[in-house]
Point group: C2
Chain length 339, copies 2
Amino acid sequence: MPTAEFDLIRRCFTRPPVHGAGEVSVVSLVSLGIGDDCAVLQPTPGQQWCVSTDTLVAGVHFFEDVDAARLGHKALAVNLSDLAACGATPRAFFLALSLPRAMAAKEAWCQSLAHGLFALADAHGAVLAGGDTTRGPLSLTLTVMGEVPQGQALLRSGARVGDEVWISGDLGGAYLGLQSRREPGRFALGPLFQAAIDRLECPQPRVALGQALRGIAHSAIDLSDGLVADLGHVARASGQADGPLHFELDFDRLPAHPALALLDDVQRQQAILAGGDDYELAFTAPVGAHAAVLAAAQASGTPVHCVGRVRPAQPAEAAVIVVADGQALAPPTGGFVHF
Amino acid sequence: MPTAEFDLIRRCFTRPPVHGAGEVSVVSLVSLGIGDDCAVLQPTPGQQWCVSTDTLVAGVHFFEDVDAARLGHKALAVNLSDLAACGATPRAFFLALSLPRAMAAKEAWCQSLAHGLFALADAHGAVLAGGDTTRGPLSLTLTVMGEVPQGQALLRSGARVGDEVWISGDLGGAYLGLQSRREPGRFALGPLFQAAIDRLECPQPRVALGQALRGIAHSAIDLSDGLVADLGHVARASGQADGPLHFELDFDRLPAHPALALLDDVQRQQAILAGGDDYELAFTAPVGAHAAVLAAAQASGTPVHCVGRVRPAQPAEAAVIVVADGQALAPPTGGFVHF
């Protein structure tokens, strides 16, 4: 990449050092990796690191004409959502940015991308600690690191028979947002559809809820592939300890995004059960912790809904069963494919 | 990505759990991220984490027809080289792999990529702790994490006036390898050129040397952009503390890859001063540590060469001056552009 473009990227993504400074101060950060071979991070005593990495590719995970600030926001949000699912406190992130020549030269576009990224990072106290910029097809790979008190990370494998199943926020908004972005003429535009598009493009990771659930929830996952697919991951991971289990969900208790009221029943069911990209948390907790879950939700300002139970299962049974009017629904067709 | 392909990738990149097990046991690793939202890492008391991320894009950093095992090797090697430059001990790495449809379907290709990656990872005790696989143009982003005793990370900013300048191994091999891969008919093939191509495609990160230099070297960097460009980074980073400094190098002491003997003087000089991708270490150490550097090199089985000194500089002077026969050479034209 020509030097002028490197300078541009550097201007957009370099900020004053944060050593011991103000709001975004990160005691665990020693030396910034931007400009050195590595970032050097100081672990907080008694804490473990949670690390996750996620890639967004143009044309696969986002439309190439998406607003750059929203792209920056989403790239970090989907990664912070993984930290949320583990109950971790965000600390640092690393950005590998691959940019085509045309975009690298657009200062306004790069500034906007950085703006969206940093606004969300600042809101969660995460510091850009290093990265790499290369010439190539547009994509962003972020690696996020957070801290969690030793042994308290929420895992997918912790669900136990008898647990209640909970979901934060509501479901299906991103699915509808994607439909209306794909076929702009199909839906009448209005505030509800805009809210659905916002859900697709600006998901809010449930970081505060995840932290509040430490010591309360048995298991957690963030919903990126769709409710049934993601809970299937939890059921399989958890079933290895005490024998097979499955999730029995009550369809009428599943929280739907307000805009889904405009869909027919079949589409609505698909959006709720198989729509991905919502980045809500699904988690399980013992029945005795019901009040504690509600208190954690209130403390973190996050709505939660108790939607089912974890049951023992036969080896061949489905990992997730959704019941409506006393009948099991047919499983949704296919998982969520991002585009 | 269709489920069958996900399964293929999973088969290629999933290995038995390493908790407390055998050769690759990593005491710091608690829970693998593959299959969970995050990997959970247990810091070793008294250590800091060094973290670095690097992307390789097809057609920019490697030829699309490169051998997959060599690609896997190189993707990890360039990242381990950053840990080496900090003196860190590799612990874990994360792989974000973007694959076009045609490649994701080729099991032999994916197995070969995994084989090259794991062979180098095992040699350095680094464990694949998580990642992300997406459909998209071929690229690999790796994030590596290593540990270093508190306060002992080697940084670019530590060079001091009077330091000796050292280089490991030899220079210019990868540059020549790239030329002969670009224009296969231009050079007579033979063992020397094959060695140069090996340097380009299979660089060996100087991990053991980096660790051995902790407490001895004042500063270090790995050579990816070319000698003059990379030492310029060190001179500028270090010059902020005690005033401007520059590196004065003796051209005749710069170690050249054996295959460079086949080039004319102009090409040879370009390869040594501006050829990138060699992934040797350049470092500085006080004169009094000369014997300690040689001992560290011997202990780590790595050849090193003392090639110059760090001098005080005027603000406008070049950051790196290369002297041959008592005359300063003209700076090389341009930095290394990977393709």
